[in-house]
Amino acid sequence: MTTQTLPYTTPQAVPYQRYVPKLAVALGAALLLAWTVFPFLWILLTSLKSSADIISVPPKFVFTPTFDNYAALVMGEQRGQYSSTRPDFPLFFLNSMIISLGAVALSVLAGIPAAYALARFTFPFKDALGFVLMSFRFVPFIAFVIPLYLLYQRFGLYNTHTGLILAYQLITLPFTIWMLRSFFQEVPIEIQEAAKIDGCSWLGVLMRVILPLSLPGIAVTVILGFMFSWNAFNYPLMLAGRQTFPVTVGAIQFISYEQVLWGQMAAATIVAAVPQLLLSLMVQKYIVRGLTMGAVK
């Protein structure tokens, strides 16, 4: 078996100087940056504005920042304004963490064997089963959500973390299986054969060869799954009560009957983004370490 260390970037990443004018690249990068970051930046700015600044025309870039909106999330009564005097936001945040982590964990646990089966075995009904698994993601939530609500009420799953984690499988499980399947299939078959010859059972092949080599793929899947769970809105709206609302439902509570508390909504959005930010920073290293398939050949 020949080993070959590759540079960090695979050969097709050619230095740009030779082929594309520097300016165009800089412009491209700037545009991409602006496009991606600007709305987030604007939400951040909004969260630091007082209500007067928020609705001022023309929109203000320069203003005196205030942390009132953030304080309101945790403490309730805002100076001169009101908000939920019993701040539920920390509770919603905790709910989001529990539900999203639980949903992704469950999906990965069930998804890895399923993806392995679909990627590396041939068996009757393989295509059909694969499609059925995927098809659960297709169903428009409307067709589901009222019957699911009725069912949950009857079986006591309504307004429980467990119930929501199970319902979230509709969002995360098919996605996890299909993503993992793609990444598992990228593991060269020769390595798998080699491991089998060395005496590994299917479990050994999975644990020793496929999982380690697909780690970046798993990382991407986990983080995307987490984000999809975290940002789900329609299922928790119907299936959760106040004790289990995640931050997405919590954030719309800033639409009151006689005003909309944009500043607090923006603050809630920023705070809700923090776990995802942290998670993606942690996982970045994994992807970036550049575990390429070719390194094993």
């Binding site: 993601r137 940002n231 944009w262 993606s280 390429t292």
Partner: protein, 299 residues
């Protein structure tokens, strides 16, 4: 290879099903609610009039053919999906290639690309709606005014609303496509490129004959995910236009929502949701065949 005794062989036979079992069990619980929804679609279930509940066979479905809004919603669903997927996958590919090249600051850019995914679509759409106010009160028009552009009526006109929804949806989902394709790009094997370089291929040729074919399973994967989601796009429209103005941004899921949750005609709403489901299933079945072919051709 050693000869397997008969017992061992049978276990191997059942193994894939065992592996699939946990996932199938988890999702099996969802079959009953779905079946219930399907059942309702064949009834005249109307929440406030429980005593008018009757089994009406295909009336709800056939009634859709006469409903003018249905044709519009169907057209918008399909048209929007086509444009959105082409736009998002195309741009996503470009961005992935861009981020894969050795440009300075790419690590930072890659990290920042994840930002839109961290915002719940409902809230983001609300914030975008504020940014897209139709006069110069909105930050977007304000910035555009510096480039000499007249204030754009983002949400007040029918065309503007469609474009606005497209923009917000693209903003939220471009990172998803880019990330998948970037991950795939980073995992591509080296030999085809070396072989191509030996053959004297330039960048564009390498792109066309090496990168794209190698990427094709992932491109189709991205197309598949985006298609299925675009056909059912809901959160963005719900938070901004709720199908308006003048039903310009009403797709089948919004229509089903209105019938079910605003007007409480569950029977009709479920029928519309099932029709949408059938469309999604058909489209993704086609795409899956495509994906299988693409995956096989590259291995």
């Amino acid at each position: 290879m050693t000869l397997q005794p008969r017992r061992h062989w049978r276990r191997e036979e059942y193994l894939p099903y065992l592996l699939l079992a946990p996932a199938l069990i988890l999702l099996a619980g969802m079959v009953y609610p779905f079946a219930l929804g399907l059942y309702y679609s064949f009834t005249s279930y109307w929440l406030q009039y429980p005593n008018r509940f009757r089994f009406v066979w295909f009336d709800n479905y056939l009634g859709l053919l006469e409903e003018p809004l249905f044709a519009r919603a169907l057209g918008f669903t399909l048209g929007f999906t086509l444009v959105a997927v082409v736009l998002q996958v195309g741009l996503g590919l470009a961005v992935a290639l861009f981020l894969h090249a050795r440009i300075p600051g790419r690590a930072v850019l890659r990290a920042l690309m994840l930002l839109p995914l961290m915002m719940p679509p409902v809230i983001t759409a609300l914030m975008w709606k504020i940014m897209m106010a139709s006069t110069n009160a909105g930050i977007l028009n304000y910035i555009l005014s510096f480039f000499g552009v007249d204030p754009v009526n983002w949400f007040g006109s029918m065309e503007g609303a469609i474009v606005s929804v497209l923009i917000i949806d693209t903003w939220g989902n471009l990172p998803f496509v880019s990330l998948i394709l970037l991950g795939a790009l980073q995992a591509l094997p080296a030999e085809p490129y070396e072989a191509a370089r030996v053959d004297g291929a330039g960048t564009v040729a390498m792109l066309r004959y090496v990168t794209l074919p190698l990427l094709s399973p992932f491109i189709v994967l991205a197309v598949m995910f985006r298609t299925m989601d675009s056909l059912r796009i809901f959160d963005v429209i719900y938070a901004t236009t709720l199908g308006g103005p003048n039903d310009a941004t009403t797709n089948l899921q919004i229509m089903a929502y209105q019938y079910s949750f605003q007007w409480y005609q569950m029977g009709k709403g479920m029928a519309q949701a099932i029709v949408l489901l059938l469309i999604v299933v058909m489209v993704s079945w086609l795409l899956m065949r495509l994906w299988n072919r693409a995956a096989e051709s590259t291995s």
